[in-house]
């Protein structure tokens, strides 16, 4: 079922403190829909539950002491 993108825009924009002007809403809705399609594609990837490695793992620098 297609998610209610307008309801998400209303809730998330209020939470983030980002006003979405009426004239910007159609574009925001369209791009949110594209992102939702991408997220759905990512959900089909067979990731191993044991594999939690993120690509952006933070590594502290080596320190000279």
């Amino acid at each position: 079922m297609m998610p209610d993108l307008d309801a998400h825009i209303d809730a998330a924009s209020a939470l983030v403190g980002l006003e979405i002007a009426p004239e910007h809403r159609p574009g925001v809705r369209a791009f949110l829909g594209i992102a939702a399609d991408m997220a759905a594609l990512l959900d089909t990837v067979p990731l191993d539950e044991a594999e939690q490695q993120h690509a952006n793992v933070y590594l502290p620098p080596e320190m000279d002491r």
């Binding site: 998330a12 594209i34 990837v45």
Partner: protein, 467 residues
């Protein structure tokens, strides 16, 4: 050696050998910019005084007996997200113009200057680099020198256009999802997107820290390698810059391709590209097959890599710009604004999963490289669309142009692979580009194959004809 399409190597040899002066080269370049730039809108800032001062410094050093640098007297220009001392770094935006001028040059500019190169100015780009088209509501569309009614591609639009039009033998751009490769393909020039972390981004305005790369464009492989070699080396101003010693590309250029295991990406890549884009790849593959085996590889998970890149880009860039979006959404370019706004609203699990898939997709690519040294793929789905177009035909389906013009480039920048893009097109035709994709840190393989294709007459940056 002031001809508009002289190579950087030719210019450096002429200046270093005393056949001409750096000042004469700079003056000719500035005159050509004044004559040609109004029709293509590649430059947003021309640093004429600085160019002449840098050229005079090169000439004075040579007169004093100094050894010429590898880029002695070579003019170049940079995408306007690079800091240029004394200029505000606009990054294609209107909002940033209120910022104070940069108090120093980006590290890559410092390094090119150290090699003797002469900065001509800053170049047009898509706002905040979130662009594949070359259109810009604030500075006007950058126009393709091969047909000024058509897009340059973006977001390094001015870089592609200036180098194609003979207004800068070398230019610098950035590539987060394809922003070097798309304009280099659509404008018909060479480029190198190095491995993520190879070239320091210190002193450049970011787009997506997780994915941003910087790199050179030029009209031949040799010039790309000259610039690339002059810019390598660690810098601690960029937290993602690898602590690697420089690995020059120049010594590898003429090693040929014999023995390299090469494969053409088929499946999704071929299905997503127009016949002419696939024909360009086939022409390159055919030339390479004269010296080595060329097979095929399907890369069935490339769409997942592309999707991960899309989500990471959308979320991370929107978070970076959130204060500007809250305060000044109406001041953004309409071509980028709604995507930025949407990115600020994405659920967090989407981003976390995208980062996991990115790592997973890298593992799949590394498995592929166990049997292959180099992969060929189209750089764009088709040649340059008309300026103003908003849909693109992908596999017989009309899709929104802005997020999709770079879809064939995104899977590879997602995991930071080095990619050379070479122009493959007939004189007078609209350019197309072929991506040469190698394992991490193997820019040498990209450059070897690019040089081979150039020597074989397949890859060539034909000068634009009047259109």
């Amino acid at each position: 050696m002031t001809a508009p399409f002289a190579t950087a190597a030719e210019i450096a040899a002429a200046v270093g050998g005393g056949a001409t002066s750096a000042r004469a080269v700079a003056e000719a370049a500035l005159a050509r910019i004044a004559a040609i730039n109004p029709s293509i809108n590649a430059y947003t800032d021309v640093t004429a005084d600085r160019a002449l001062a840098e050229a005079d410094a090169v000439d004075a050093a040579l007169a004093g007996g100094a050894a010429p640098g590898p880029l002695a007297g070579v003019p170049y220009a940079v995408k306007n997200l690079f800091d240029i001392d004394g200029l505000t770094t606009r990054a294609g935006s209107k909002i940033n113009r209120a910022d104070p001028p940069a108090r120093g040059d980006a590290v890559l500019i410092q390094r090119l200057r150290g090699a003797g190169a002469v900065l001509l100015g800053g170049l047009n780009m898509g706002e905040y680099a979130y662009d594949f088209t070359g259109e810009n509501a604030h500075d006007g569309a950058c126009r393709n020198p091969h047909d000024v009614a058509r897009m340059t591609g973006g977001s390094s639009s001015g870089s592609g256009a200036a180098t194609a039009a003979g207004l800068a033998p070398i230019s610098l751009g950035s590539d987060t999802n394809g922003s070097l490769r798309v304009p280099s393909a659509l404008c018909g020039v060479f480029s190198l997107k190095p491995t993520y972390g190879r070239l320091p981004r210190s002193g450049s305005f970011p787009f997506v820290d997780s994915l941003d790369h910087l790199g050179p464009l030029a009209r031949c492989t040799h010039d790309v390698a000259l610039a690339y070699d002059a810019m390598q080396g660690f810098d601690d101003g960029d937290g993602a810059c690898a602590r690697r010693a420089p690995e020059p590309g120049m010594p590898h250029l003429r090693r040929g391709v014999a023995g390299l295991r090469i494969a053409v990406a088929d499946g999704w890549f071929m299905q997503s590209a127009a016949p002419e884009a696939n024909a360009a790849v086939a022409a390159a593959a055919d030339a390479l097959s004269a010296r080595t085996d060329v097979g095929a590889i399907s890369l069935p998970h490339a769409q997942m890599g592309r999707a991960a890149a899309y989500i990471i880009t959308n979320a991370e860039s929107a978070a970076f710009h959130l204060a500007r979006l809250r305060a000044n959404a109406s001041e953004f370019d309409p071509g980028t604004r709604d995507r930025f706004l949407a990115g600020a609203l994405l659920p967090a699990p989407w981003l976390a999963r995208a980062q996991r898939v990115r790592r997973w997709w890298l593992a799949r690519m590394l498995e592929s490289f166990a049997d292959i040294d180099l992969i060929l793929a189209p750089a764009t789905p088709a040649s340059a669309p008309l300026i103003g177009a908003d849909t693109l035909d992908i596999g017989g389906r009309a899709v929104p142009l802005r997020p999709n013009l770079g879809l064939l480039a995104q899977p590879f920048s997602c995991v930071g692979l080095p990619v050379a893009t070479v122009p493959v097109f007939a004189p007078g035709a609209l350019p197309l580009g072929v991506q040469l994709i190698a394992p991490p840190w193997r820019e040498d393989l990209c450059l070897r194959a690019a040089q081979y294709l150039e020597d074989a007459g397949i890859a060539k940056a034909h000068p634009p004809t009047a259109r």
